[in-house]
Amino acid sequence: MLGFKEIKNGLLVSLWFVFLTFPLMVVKVDPVERIVSWRWENSIYVAIGTFVIYCVVKIIMQHRTGNAAVEKEAEQEKESIIHRVLASPKQKYTLIALLLAVAIAFPQFSSSYQTNVMTTALMYVVLGLGLNIVVGMAGLLDLGYVAFYAVGAYTYALLNHHFDLGFWAVLPIGGGMAAIFGILLGFMIVTIFIVNRLQDSRLGRAWIALREDEIACQAMGIDKRRTKLVAFALGAFWAGIIGVVFAAKTTFINPASFTFLESAIILAIVVLGGMGSIVGVILGALILILLPEYLRALSEYRMLAFGAILVAMMVFRPRGLISNIRRTYHSDKKFHPPIQH
């Protein structure tokens, strides 16, 4: 599998990492007691760890170049199955019914912790879908998306606090959890269908055109400013709604809930899933939100692993998990024979 050259490179790389991690991993000083402790064993771990990772990556790379073509086709197949389901009304309603049944049943059969985790994940699905309109479809980079989320949360919190408004207040606390979960799933389904509809609408096509080429877009008579503003407004709309849900769910908000990191994670959901792809965004949100939750077993190494996985996913799948297939129009099917699988 690996030749002599790769082994040699692997050794050099691990040597480089031993050097790189030397001051931070090996030396530890106590500035108050004035004690220096040398942790040489860490160097050995780093050397072995780097070498193993290098070899694994090399083997994966060799494997991938062989199967690249096959993978690509399988991927398009996957995407089209979901699009086909969404396209036919009968299957669409079956899917909704199925998801609703899961939503009602889930809190009954699992612990409140599990429900909580799933609720959070679904909130991020909707947030991701909202940002997908701005970033994925219209191609505008929005690093302050979390602000709209905060606006929604504060609107609810202030209205509720000062005027006793909000229908969440009537929900009993115990049943509230399940209700939130169900309503969220409802939101998610509504979002999916709205975004899906949008994608094929005049506006959606204008966004995608804007993302691909602004100048050509203007030449075709699309009002650039209006189209961009609508994208921002629609994206912000979903964030605001989820902000309300978030405030109702946690019953406590402060500015620390809406940091830059939050924005970055929502952006990561969109890019990781595959920009402009609805299924991709759902998948991205589930992975990015459930991953740190289930990585809790790693305790303090949790965020370290999260960062590393984020980098690795981008390096191995730069176009996201599901890259959106471009719609092409064929004038006549006869002249385009189907691709042989």
């Binding site: 991690t21 001051p23 108050v32 390096v315």
Partner: protein
């Protein structure tokens, strides 16, 4: 009047540090069009390396001057090494990927490096040794301008001068400017673009390391989170001055530092960020490409 000068000097010092870090952002953006979110972490690693080396040497009883020089060298060397490695791992494979993909991998790298330092060292604030002594000749004006401020300002000025000479005068600098103008064209005239990108990361990281060393000895304590906060501020400075422009980063850093200093001094430290970012928004409304940025025109 004394108070004004005090705030002015404090603002300049702060701005000089922002400028040092902002240069790394702006150079990388200029050359590969990427907002390197891990840059703040490189600065933090520089400060940590300096802290470790300085503390170890002071425990073993080295003289102050040797400590300062060795700690500075170590910070520069290791920060550059980290900057180089981060580029090779997280950005180089994504050179032809969609625009936002390297941004996400930069965010991942930033989270990774923060937690790496947290686990390898500690989450507590660590007292940074005082590397810059109080000079005797500064005694009469010490209540207005501290010795640290002067050292930081002079060091920054010297570094900026060296950087200007490197970029304007040397072969590497010429190649860097060529690559940032047109990467394909630079490749065609025989510039090793990958090497130039690496050089950019190394220079940017070295500047951040010096910034880390200076600010840590100025403030007197460090922890694993300082990189994130400084990174955001420096990025703001880079955008303010016009991202991609080197004099712009310096100007942006100074403007940001002075605004913050005056806002803290005359209004309240709670409003420091409000003023800084309001200024950013105002400038970007009237000059969308930043103070010294060139407006991009696209030919069809």
């Amino acid at each position: 009047m004394d108070y004004f000068i005090e705030l002015f000097c404090g603002g300049l010092t702060r701005g000089a540090i922002y400028a040092l870090i902002a240069l790394g952002y702006t150079m990388v953006y200029g050359i590969i069009g990427l907002i390197n979110f891990a840059h703040g972490e490189i600065y933090m690693i520089g400060a940590f390396t300096a802290f470790i080396v300085a503390t170890v040497l002071s425990i073993y009883g080295f003289p102050l001057l040797a400590i300062v020089i060795l700690a500075g060298f170590a910070a520069v060397i290791w920060s550059s090494a980290y900057g180089y490695t981060v580029e090779k791992i997280a950005y180089k494979p994504l050179r032809h990927a969609p625009r936002l993909s390297p941004l996400i991998s930069a965010i991942g790298m930033s989270i990774f490096l923060q937690n790496y330092v947290l686990l390898a060292q500690t989450s507590n604030f660590l007292p940074f040794p005082e590397l810059i002594p109080e000079f005797a000749f500064m005694e009469p004006i010490a209540h207005i301008v501290g010795s640290t401020d002067i050292v930081i300002l002079i060091t920054t000025a010297v570094i900026m001068l060296i950087l200007t000479v490197v970029i304007k005068g040397t072969k590497v600098g010429k190649a860097m400017r060529a690559t940032s103008q047109d990467r394909t064209m630079a490749m065609l005239v025989g510039i090793n673009v990958n090497r130039i990108i690496s050089a950019t990361f190394i220079i940017g990281s070295a500047l951040a390391a010096i910034g880390g060393l200076l600010i840590a000895s100025h403030i007197g304590q460090i922890n694993f989170y300082i990189g994130f906060l400084a990174g955001i501020k420096a990025f703001t400075a880079a955008v303010l001055g016009g991202i991609g422009s080197i004099p712009g980063a310096v100007l942006g850093g100074l403007v940001l530092g002075l605004t913050e200093s005056f806002a803290t001094g005359y209004v309240s430290s709670d409003y420091e960020d409000v003023f800084a970012f309001s200024l950013l928004v105002l400038i970007l409304i009237f000059k969308p490409s930043g103070l010294l940025g060139k407006a991009e025109t696209k030919k069809v």
